[in-house]
């Protein structure tokens, strides 16, 4: 198991061995994001851009116009928040061939807290016309996505994470944009997840099975584009859908699934993620537990929901009215 930041550097080193157009631009974080490994291997294809992310994005657009393939490296939050207007206008609107390697996404950022935790990036980036938004679930998917994105002509946002996670796929995995992956079958409910959270959902499904709850897991690594048909087909057989993401419950994967089902297959969707609040600087285990995203907590929350879940429409209305009165 390699952390995705290591996969990022190792894969780009390999690609750059045979492709002199591949460049890495760093926002003064190379020794955190592991872009420093690339800098050691290919010093002539590494460009230090300093603590100036907006400018870095603009420079990449200029480089891309000369047929370079610029991969940007910084923390996700500094792209999707600090430099969002540069990405929006210079990259997405012009369809520039720029690849955004967004390290340290989500909650697990090495005890840096709310400033460095990007829990809104999927919501922001998927609302941007022309942008491809990818969130790899393991190292093999990450490697394949980087290879795919380097060949693809157009802007790509790649959501990387700091830590290592369990392996989901075989080493010969080939990424296909839009595809989803049913990793567990289940008849009682379906968990839909993305990025390394998927592995925690797979473990949660195994825990639920011990309680005689049959839970499926659908992995959605390609937030945009995404196959509506595949999501609808996966949701069709189950009465209840949970979205689980290391991201705010607003507008990310939960938003995506809710939008699709609302139009194509109206069905209850329960969104697990970070509620509308800020993170904090704390150990990873604590954060995942606090926000209910460990395998244990996901399985507990689902079991608890099933215990109390209203079964009829009338009960739903009563429950909602009861909550409002409280």
């Amino acid at each position: 198991m390699r952390p995705l930041r290591e996969v990022f550097a190792d894969t780009l080193i390999r690609l750059a061995d045979s492709n002199s157009n591949v460049l890495v631009l760093d926002g003064d974080l190379a020794n955190s994001t592991k872009a420093d490994k690339f800098s050691d291997a290919h010093p002539d294809q590494f460009l230090e851009m300093g603590i100036a992310e907006q400018n870095m994005v603009g420079v990449a657009v200029g480089l891309a116009s000369l047929d370079f393939i610029p991969w940007l490296s910084s923390f996700a939050v500094f792209f999707t928040h600090r430099a969002v207007d540069s990405i929006r206008m210079l990259v997405a609107q012009t369809r520039a061939n720029v690849k955004i390697g967004a390290a340290y996404s989500g909650l697990l950022t090495g005890r840096t807290g709310k400033t460095h935790q990007d829990i809104q990036d999927l919501a922001i980036m998927r609302a941007m016309p022309g942008m491809t938004v990818l969130a790899p679930g393991d190292e093999f998917e990450c490697e394949s996505m980087i290879g795919w994105a380097t060949q693809y002509q157009g802007p790509v946002y790649l959501r990387l994470t700091r830590e290592a996670g369990p392996i989901l796929f075989a080493s010969d995995y080939q990424f296909t944009p839009g595809r989803t992956y049913q990793l567990r079958q289940g008849k009682d409910l379906l968990m839909i997840s993305t990025g390394p959270q998927t592995a925690r959902c797979v473990e949660a499904a195994d825990r639920l099975r011990a309680s005689n709850i049959s839970a499926g897991v659908l992995h959605v690594p390609s937030i945009k584009p995404v196959s509506i048909q595949e999501i609808v087909a996966s949701c069709e057989p189950v009465p209840l859908v949970f979205t689980v993401e290391e991201h705010t419950v607003l507008g990310g994967l939960g938003g995506l699934v809710s939008e699709i089902l609302a139009e194509h297959l109206p069905k209850r969707v329960v969104r697990f993620g970070i509620e509308d609040c800020w993170g904090e600087s704390a150990p990873d285990d604590y954060l995942l537990d606090y926000f209910g995203l460990t395998a244990e907590r996901v399985s507990e929350r689902i079991a608890a929901y099933l215990d109390t879940a209203p079964v009829s429409r009338a009960e739903v209305v009563r429950k909602i009215l009861g909550e409002i009165r409280q």
Binding site: G58, V59, V61, G62, L66
Partner: protein, 307 residues
């Protein structure tokens, strides 16, 4: 090494000559200004003050300085120009039309439905543009990328980026100002259209005098000294005087192999060329009525076109 444009070096054959007599260019500037004001009046939207302050600079670039092929806008060896102050789009469109990139008649479509001439430049719509601009502060970074890419590729073209002095308040420009000298990009030139006004800005204090009717965005700030200390070579010119503009732009363009990027501080007047608009912040983006248009036509010597 000279990268100065000559017809023999690849410009289209209709490229104007290189005489020191700027009468022809001055006539072009009057036509360009009229095209700007009349297009804005026609569409009922757009900007006037900024395009008029930049007019001579744009004409000098496209008619005398830059190595370009209007009928082959994607020619790989062309010099690059980015209008970072994208709200002055109609000024650029007028000059591109005069230079043959697009039909003069198309200016009537400016800012209208399905037009290639968007209110702010859109690279996906109009050939001849290098990137989309209009969100202020972004163009210099893209120009930095062109210049850096040219260096890495061993290409000889020059990159010019025009920024506004109001726009210079945007922090992203200062990121680019810091980074460009680190890569020793002599093939990059920023042109500061220093017209002394912004859209609203700050009112003049009692007894205070500036070039325009509001405070100069930078007042007494020593911009030349600041740019120099950041590592830029700084040249200065009267931005309405071709005798200063053209040699200055050519000097910058001929420095592609040098270690320092060039900043040209071009002192201009916002709304230059008509008594109605000169030095008046309100004409940043105002639509002239029929009488105002007639007065502009008189000032620009094109009254017969309006009659």
């Amino acid at each position: 090494m000279s990268l100065v444009t000559t017809p023999e070096q690849g410009n289209d054959s209709d490229s104007p000559g290189r005489s020191k007599d700027y009468g022809e260019l001055e006539q072009l500037a009057r036509r360009g200004r009229w095209l700007v004001v009349s297009a804005v009046a026609n569409s009922g939207a757009g900007h006037i003050g900024g395009p008029l302050s930049a007019m001579e600079l744009l004409i000098a670039l496209y008619f005398r300085v830059m190595n370009v092929r209007p009928h082959e806008p994607d020619w790989p060896e062309r010099d690059r120009f980015i209008l970072s102050k994208g709200h002055s789009a109609i000024g650029l469109y007028a000059v591109l039309a005069l230079r043959g990139y697009l039909p003069l008649d198309e200016l009537k479509t400016f800012d209208k439905e399905r037009s290639r001439l968007q209110g702010h430049p859109d690279v996906t719509k109009l050939p001849g543009l290098e990137t989309s601009t209009g969100s202020l502060g972004q163009g210099l970074s893209v120009g930095l990328g062109f210049a850096l890419g040219a260096r890495l590729r061993g290409r000889k073209f020059h990159t010019f980026v025009m920024i506004g002095d109001g726009e210079l308040q945007e922090g992203m420009i200062w990121e680019a100002l810091h980074i460009a000298p680190r890569y020793k990009l002599g093939n990059l030139t920023a042109i500061l259209d220093c017209n002394g006004l912004q859209q609203f800005g700050w009112p003049l204090k009692q007894g205070e005098r500036h070039r325009g009717d509001r405070q100069d965005p930078w007042g007494e700030t020593d911009l030349k000294g600041i740019f120099e200390r950041l590592g830029w070579r700084v040249l200065e010119a009267d931005g309405h005087d071709y005798a200063q503009i053209i040699p200055t732009l050519e000097e910058a363009q001929g420095s592609g192999e040098s270690a320092r990027p060039t900043m040209i501080i071009a002192r201009t007047i916002k709304g230059k060329g008509t008594r109605l608009t000169e030095g008046k912040f309100a004409w940043h983006a105002k639509i002239p009525n029929r009488e105002e248009l007639a007065s502009v036509a008189v000032d620009l010597g094109v009254a017969e076109r309006v009659a």
